[in-house]
């Protein structure tokens, strides 16, 4: 079982307290009606499906907050977690710590 660091609680807690919430940094368009069918399709359904580091969202059921994470889909390791609304973290060595 993984330990996941909640950036709001500032604690590493068991995986059981968390749920996955899809890929991160896919913002809902401000005006969906302005999007073509293809653009809307991409927003709805097209995802990175990364092999390796993957930006994704998790929710800590304990505090109820959604946050962002970089998780390696091969090793299942969390490289870093950060609060919702923060910009995409670069994949630096620091993040990989």
């Amino acid at each position: 079982m993984l330990l996941i660091h909640c950036p709001y609680c500032e604690d590493s807690l068991p995986e059981l307290e968390f749920t996955y919430a899809g890929e991160a940094h896919i913002a809902r368009p401000a005006d969906p009606s302005a999007l073509s069918d293809e653009e809307w399709r991409d927003f709805l359904f097209i995802r990175t499906n990364a092999r390796g580091p993957h930006y994704e969202r998790w929710r800590h059921i304990g505090c109820g907050r959604f946050f962002n994470a970089i998780r390696d889909t091969v090793s299942d390791r969390f490289l870093t977690t950060y609060k919702a609304g923060e910009p995409r973290r670069p994949l630096t060595n620091e993040a990989a710590e």
Binding site: M1, L2, S33, L35, L44, R77, G85
Partner: protein, 991 residues
């Protein structure tokens, strides 16, 4: 005492006899025995029949890797366990055991006919033999095979034992308390770190318990072990025996299964049988040692043929001589020591057959001194003996030529094909392996762990002890602590080496050789070669085609031998072929240990409403709904479900029904931006909804499909009381939170789950208003039409009152704080007596709503249904610029013709349709038929005929058409209708 038990030898208590039964016969063993050692002490080698061929088998090992000696053990009612390894089960007074896979008896088994027909049962026989005729599969082959195959009998009664579970956080967890593990624990414990040392056996010491002559720091092995365990105990190290590390998971989480009572004569009442530990360790040291490999030759599975190391363990640990006249076949030095120790304890060793050309001179000396003949460059071509090995045929090998063999009489045959490092736990972590020419060793690590001793291919106690100490020190340093490197002096050490083989060379017909690799699944060398010949290239395919390594022992003995032979057949090197994946658990683990406390009432939370006690006292039949226990119907004496539901429905339509709706999901949406938030989340327009009014709300996913619905009341400009489906409450709140936190954090809104804070009672029927009115204070009845809400008191209790209907009758939902729920209910029942008030359950609720065509999200919708498909376009705020899912309602697929649409169905013959039944337009079309939809809801109704709802392609344009529902007993005809079967003009709501 049997002549196979050596007086005073071993770690068993010779002054404490223990009697037990095996197949109905009583035997004597000693305290400290396993069932296997006790049977061997009685001269019994035959302990079971094999899985497929029903061949006679005996214990081949002395430990948890045992594939053959599987027995049923019984400790009274409900406490029967199949497939217990006789080499693991400790003896206790009165233990009842039985052999498996035999009929009528172990020594004469009818099923052994399979052995004669072995040509039929080769690799892939399932796929090839029983292809034709097809109908024979279900009726003949499958039942017969299932009857004949299988391992043991399943228990038939619930397990009455208790199982416990615990969490543990420790700095260093060391798995395996042999010499490497003990040395690692000594190193790790030296600076105050919290250290845990676990071992699956009853006693710690590992291989040292089977090598008492070794001297460490001048002390005999057993004295050294005792002294070190004392030191560890004094240093506060947690020592856990009978504790198997079953799995190694992410971030140094290990599962440990601790066996607590199976070895006790009379377990304390109520004591848990096993305890599952979930351990989070800072550092892990794997010191699991190595498992001895069998050699692969014809007849290597007869009772009496066993691993040389096992014989050595039976001798030293249990004081049991496995035979008077053993022969040895080996490709590793270690078997010489087993032979020497047996010879030194009175056995007459017939010969040591060594596959290698030049055995080590000191070993040859040792053999010569004891008068043991050594046959280098020899192979074994076959063995003889029906229920016990009687002789072994040894033949010289020159190059690839097998010379003339000779039969050597023996009463047991000890084999050693070398040792396989126990890599199971390491493999659970996805650690990679490297081939060293003979076997796989651990390579790249993914977790904070160290591997020490024989587990990484070392042999000889001096090397293993030094390695364990170094691993323990590295673990300590990994924690940021320091320690010093201990050293050990070892005398009488037993270092050694060996080579790995494919099948041993033979002069016989290799195609007829019964040379077993996987004893538990009866897989032979021939099966592996056949699999390769038939096109299996990947080791994973070979494994599945032959079932090699797929039994409960998870290939502990068979994997490397299988790989060697598969690689040879493929003409590749073993590392190019690779090893199959080891999966948890390391050894078979009882379901009870996994369940722990989570069984029966504690298996899953059962949520009960505040009104549940009344329902129970009044004879409700319950059904589970989304973890809730809900009253399903309230049968009166003599009523079946159908009669009860019909009575409840009619009473509600005629006068007054009362229903516990407390499970409805409730969310309070509050704040200055609440109305804006509601406008964005729900399809409906909310801005113009006045406080004191409510509205049916429809929630879509961003993909445009219906996610949830419910009536939503606006209590004040900035406060909405949202209701959701019973099962959807948590999901809807999560979805709302997601949008609020991540898409619209600028909105000033608070979301609060209030499902369990409110008890909700629904009153429905033409007399609902008359009955309720006198109990309510604070409502202006002149301005409280259908779809109104108010904060008021009901029966003197603070309440939120909603006027709405899920039945088509005049209806109310009274919400009171949960603590008042039962009081409200009883007050309403009392006041309702004047109107013959009728409590009803979820089934009546379903019938009444279906008669009105009200949908249940998740029953009439399935995640592919849009508002348009469900006939709910009226619920969409078309003037709104945006809401969740709006853009998707104009997606090409959503506006396309021919979507499945929700319609009503009435059967022509008045029969009840089955929910889930598929619908076709033409019942005479060729199969497979084109299915155009399915029945979503179907009930007996109050209108004298059943009603149904269904989703059907283009259903709205097919009103009045006939469709067909093919069922096993014939094709039903049904007419497509509106979904509103009852009071289509809503006259009754206006009453």
């Amino acid at each position: 005492m049997s002549r196979y038990r050596l007086q005073g030898k071993g770690r068993v208590d010779h002054s404490a006899p223990v009697s037990f039964t095996f197949d109905g016969k009583t035997y004597q063993g000693l305290r400290g025995d396993t069932v296997a050692s006790a049977l061997l002490a009685n001269g019994v080698h035959l302990m079971g029949r094999s899985f497929k061929y029903h061949r006679p088998r005996g214990a081949v090992s002395a430990g948890s890797e045992e594939p053959n000696a599987l027995i049923g053990t019984s400790r009274g009612a409900g406490r029967f366990e199949p497939n217990t390894r006789a080499t693991v089960q400790e003896l206790r007074a009165g233990l009842v055991t039985e052999s498996q896979n035999k009929w009528p008896s172990l020594s004469f088994d009818v099923g052994a006919i399979n052995d004669r027909a072995y040509m039929l049962f080769s690799a892939g026989f399932y796929y090839k033999t029983f292809m034709w005729p097809k109908s024979f599969w279900d009726k003949i082959y499958e039942p017969v095979i299932r009857g004949a195959a299988g391992l043991g009998k399943s228990p038939t009664e619930p397990d009455p034992d208790r199982y416990a579970s615990r969490y543990l956080h420790t700095d260093v967890l060391i798995v395996g308390a042999g010499p490497a593990g003990i040395a690692a624990a000594l190193a790790a414990a030296q600076s105050g770190a919290d250290v845990t040392l676990v071992d699956e056996n009853a006693e710690m010491g590992g291989s040292l318990l089977s090598d008492p002559a070794v001297l460490i720091d001048g002390k005999p092995a057993w004295d050294w072990v005792d002294a070190q365990l004392g030191r560890l105990r004094a240093a506060g190290v947690r020592l856990m025996t009978r504790t198997t590390a079953i799995g190694y998971y992410h971030q140094n989480m290990l599962g440990l299964c601790q066996r607590l009572t199976d070895h006790l004569d009379s377990p304390p009442k109520g004591a848990p049988r096993e305890r599952m530990w979930r351990v989070r360790a800072g550092q892990v040291v794997l010191a699991q040692g190595a498992l001895e490999k069998p050699l692969v030759f014809d007849g290597n599975d007869r009772p009496g043929v066993m691993l040389a190391g096992a014989a050595q363990t039976f001798l030293h640990k249990y004081g049991v001589k496995v035979g008077d006249n053993p022969a040895v076949i080996t490709s590793h030095d270690s078997a010489y020591h087993a032979a020497f120790d047996l010879a030194d304890n009175g056995a007459r060793v017939a010969a040591i057959i060594d596959t290698r050309e030049s055995p080590r001179p000191d070993l040859l000396d040792g053999a010569r001194k004891r008068g043991i003949e050594v046959l280098p460059s020899h192979t074994v071509t076959t063995t003889r003996g029906r229920l016990r090995v009687k002789s072994v045929r040894a033949a010289p090998v020159r190059g690839t030529q097998v010379g003339t063999g000779r039969d050597i009489a023996c009463d047991c045959l000890l084999m050693s094909g070398g040792w396989t490092p126990s890599l199971h736990l390491f493999s659970h972590t996805k650690g990679t392996l490297a081939w060293d020419g003979q076997t796989f060793l651990p390579d790249r690590k993914t977790e904070d762990c160290e591997i020490a001793g024989a587990g990484r291919g070392l042999w000889g106690y001096a090397d293993v002890l030094a390695d364990g100490a170094a691993a323990g020190l590295r673990a300590l340093e990994g924690l940021g602590r320091a320690g010093h490197q201990a050293s050990f002096t070892v005398a009488n050490d037993r270092p050694g080496s060996g080579v790995s083989h494919t099948e041993l060379p033979t002069d016989g017909n290799a195609g007829k050789a019964r040379a077993f690799i996987d004893f538990q699944n009866d897989v032979t060398a021939k099966d592996i070669r056949l699999a390769v010949r038939e096109g299996m290239r990947s080791i994973e395919h070979v494994k599945r085609y032959t079932t090699n390594g797929m039994a409960t022992d998870q290939g502990k003995m068979s994997n490397i031998n299988g790989l060697m032979i598969a690689a040879d057949a493929l003409g590749k090197e073993p590392p190019q072929v690779g090893l199959t994946t080891f999966r948890p658990p390391y050894t078979p683990t009882s379901f009870g240990a996994f369940c722990g406390y989570l069984r029966g009432e504690t298996f899953q939370l059962t949520r009960k409403t505040p009104i549940d006690p009344w329902a129970e006292a009044n004879g409700a039949v319950f059904e589970p709904v989304a973890q809730w226990r809900r009253a399903w119907y309230f049968p009166k004496a003599g009523e079946d479900m159908h009669a009860a539901v019909l009575r409840e429905c009619k009473a509600t339509r005629a006068s007054l029904g009362i229903f516990d709706a407390s499970t409805l999901g409730k969310i309070e949406v509050a704040g200055p931006d609440a109305v804006e938030f509601m406008n964005r989340m729900y399809t409906n327009p909310w801005t113009k909804l006045q406080p004191g009014r409510c509205r049916y709300g429809l929630l879509l996913g961003e993909d445009g499909f219906i996610r949830d619905d419910g009536v939503i009341g606006r209590l004040s400009p900035d406060l909405f009381h949202v209701t959701t489906t019973t099962g959807g409450a948590a999901r809807v709140l999560t979805m709302m939170e997601d949008y609020l936190q991540t898409e619209w954090p600028e909105l000033d809104v608070w979301l609060t789950s209030t499902t369990e804070q409110w008890a909700t009672v629904a009153l429905n029927g033409p007399n609902a208003l008359a009955m309720l009115k006198p109990l309510v204070e604070g409502v202006d009845w002149d301005d409280f039409p259908h779809m109104s809400c108010a904060e008021c008191t009901v029966a003197g209790l603070p309440a939120r009152l909603f006027r709405l209907s899920f039945t088509g009758e005049v209806g109310f939902e009274v919400n009171v704080p949960a603590r008042h729920g039962l009081a409200l209910w009883t007050a309403l029942i009392e006041a309702g007596k004047a109107y013959d008030i009728c409590p009803y359950g979820t089934e009546t609720m379903h019938v009444l709503r279906a008669e009105k065509g009200y949908i249940i999200v998740g029953q009439d919708t399935d995640g592919t249904v849009t508002p348009g498909d469900a006939g709910l376009d009226w619920a969409i705020g078309k003037a709104k610029k945006d809401f969740v899912g709006k853009r998707s309602l104009s997606r090409p697929d959503i506006v396309a013709k021919g979507r499945k649409q929700l319609v009503g169905l009435l059967t022509e013959d008045g029969s009840l349709l089955q929910e889930g039944a598929q619908i076709v337009l033409d019942p005479n079309q060729p199969k497979p038929m084109k299915m155009v939809g399915h029945v979503t809801s179907s009930y007996q109704s109050t209108m004298g005929h059943p009603i149904a709802m269904a989703v059907i392609e283009g259903g709205f344009d097919r009103m009045g058409e006939t469709v067909f529902i093919p069922m096993p007993d014939g094709v039903r005809k049904a007419k497509i209708t509106s979904t509103v079967f009852y009071d289509p003009q809503n006259e009754r709501l206006k009453a």
